[in-house]
């Protein structure tokens, strides 16, 4: 009886300690572990916020089977940088009003953050941000992709992103006939 009580108390203290920890551990699909500030993770990702609130965070590393280590490293890097750079009040209000508020231009550090990524890493990061419900990171990565597309013809977009053209000649001709109007500058 006495022993059991003691064990229960130990369990309790361990749980309290866990709740007090200010980081969470995330595990990528290939088994690598990453530490991220709990406060930043909850603030930037709706999915992680839900997991933290629901107590489904695993102390030994929460499994994120859909995200590779490279993308997760970038996610964690972004969260940690974000935690240091933007006052939280401004950020919370911007994430709540996201659907109605116009897109806010990326900050200088966010620009640098996405500029150093390869195409593959950038696309993987978009997928990870989408999976984790990180609206701001989606905004920033998609803004980068839109800059890469801006003013480009379909041919040039295929070249930049290495996409195979699966239209037949006839189909493209059919579309072109419908596009009777054209811009002077194109």
């Amino acid at each position: 009886m006495e022993v059991d009580k003691g064990k229960g108390e130990a369990e309790e203290t361990r749980k309290v300690a866990e709740a007090d920890r200010d980081t969470v551990t995330l595990k990528s699909s290939d088994g690598k572990l990453f530490e991220v500030s709990k406060e930043a993770a909850a603030r930037l990702s709706t999915v992680l916020a839900g997991m933290i609130a629901g107590g489904s965070i695993d102390d030994n590393g929460t499994d994120l089977k859909q995200i590779g280590s490279e993308a997760l490293e970038n996610v964690v890097d972004y969260c940690n940088k974000h935690a240091n750079s933007i006052p939280s009040a401004a950020l919370i209000s911007s994430s709540i009003s996201f659907n109605t508020a116009p897109f806010k231009e990326p900050e200088e550090w966010e620009r640098k953050f996405v500029d150093r990524l390869s195409h593959d890493a950038l696309f993987d990061l978009v997928e990870a941000a989408n999976f984790l419900g990180m609206e701001r990171l989606l905004d920033v990565t998609c803004h980068k992709i839109s800059e890469m597309m801006k003013g480009k013809s379909p041919d040039q977009i295929r070249e930049v992103f290495n996409i195979k053209n699966d239209y037949t000649k006839e189909e493209l001709e059919e579309i072109r006939q419908e596009l009777a109007w054209a811009f002077y500058d194109d």
Binding site: H119, F123, V126, N130, L138, P154, A182
Partner: protein, 370 residues
């Protein structure tokens, strides 16, 4: 690392699930999406999804569009589009020399007309256009005709775009008007019927309904006729009670609501004013005075209401003459119109406009994709 490189050579680099791809597209402007439609079929299928198109439309910012014909070139039909940040761009169409004008604009589409009565629907953002078959009644049309006009509208429920055409009946009967409808994607005009009361002005499209004024003897006995684009049924409303309807009144759309413009004042009296009454969307009876301002001095002896009165960016934009655009700021204490643009070298018409990727055909190879 080497493995990664090898993958990029063998397969397309863009390996993104539709979900994430949609997130990227949601954040791109319509001009960029127009090019994306032609990149590959899987992109096209995301970009022609009606739910996506209308969600994207809802996020786009409204622009002010100035439309003009460029008369320099003979073999090309060129139109000049200018937006409120004063950047201009030109659209051209080969082997066409007619001048065109804009009947109206809806969801990023322009309903264009010419002097022969032909109608073309154009999406200037994608460059896609659709020439409608000649309407049954083709006595030509003009930008200013009140008895023969077209209006493009949208039914939110069925997500269909429809062009309505009002024209006089076969026997010249000033109390009858005929109506036909063309649903984009259908390929033909349908007769809807003949109705009592000839329009005194062109129609206005507000949220799935086309409204137009009909006059019986006096302005005060005018009716507002409404054609619901979903049910294609007619209804009518009386004008709100008012001490006097002065010189003239007309309809317009401001802030997504139907508005009545009333020019007040007598010929030799004080300066004329423009009153704008707004109809509450859930009650067909309740009109509230919304804006009131003075017309400029040169409008002193003028009876007509301005053709293009629009709401954009918190201000009322009024086109009084062919080359001038005026602006009224409701937040300022002044009741005067100010000049919004310096006088342009060419005549233009003003419209509110949203860049969109609304397609003009129903099945962009969707069948082949599935």
């Amino acid at each position: 690392m080497e493995q990664k490189k090898a993958r990029a050579v063998e397969e397309p680099a863009w390996l993104m699930c539709d979900d994430a791809l949609t997130e990227v597209f949601r954040r791109l402007p319509a001009r960029a999406l127009a090019a994306c439609r032609l990149v590959c079929k899987s992109w096209l299928s995301v970009l022609t999804d009606p739910h996506f198109i209308h969600e994207h439309l809802g996020r786009s910012q409204q622009k002010l569009l100035l439309f003009a014909n460029d008369r320099v070139s003979d073999r090309l039909l060129t139109v000049v589009l200018a937006d409120d940040i004063k950047s201009m761009y030109q659209l051209w169409r080969p082997a066409a020399s007619r001048s065109v004008f804009v009947h109206n604009s809806c969801n990023g589409l322009l309903c264009l007309g010419d002097s022969t009565g032909a109608v073309e629907v154009l999406n200037p953002t994608t460059g896609e256009s659709l020439m409608l078959p000649m309407p049954m009644y083709t006595a030509g049309s003009s930008q200013f005709s009140s008895c023969n006009w077209h209006c493009l509208g949208f039914c939110p429920k069925t997500r269909e775009h429809k062009v309505v055409h009002f024209y006089p009946g076969a026997h010249i009967d000033s109390f009858k008007v005929r109506c036909e409808i063309y649903t984009i994607g259908a390929g033909f005009w349908r007769q809807v019927g003949s109705f009592r009361g000839a329009p005194t002005d062109r129609g206005v499209h507000v949220n799935g309904t086309v409204y137009y004024l009909t006059k019986f003897r006096y302005i005060a006995s005018s009716r507002i006729n409404c054609l619901n684009l979903e049910t294609e049924k007619f209804d009518e409303m009386v004008l709100p009670p008012r001490k006097s309807y002065g010189g003239h009144c007309s309809l317009t759309e401001l802030e997504g609501k139907l508005c009545l413009l009333v020019v007040d004042g007598v010929l030799e009296g004080p300066r004329r004013t423009l009153d704008i009454l707004m109809l509450s969307s859930d009650d067909k009876q309740s009109w509230t005075p919304r804006y009131h301002f003075y017309l400029p001095w040169f409008m002193h002896s003028c009876y007509f209401t301005p053709k293009h009165t629009l709401f954009h960016d918190g201000k009322i934009w009024v086109q009084l003459l062919a080359r001038n655009l005026y602006c009224f700021d409701p937040t300022s204490s002044s009741e005067e119109l100010t000049i919004a643009w310096p006088e342009l070298e060419f005549p233009f018409s003003t419209h509110t406009f949203i860049e969109s990727i609304v397609p003009l055909r129903k099945d962009y190879f969707i069948k082949q994709i599935q």
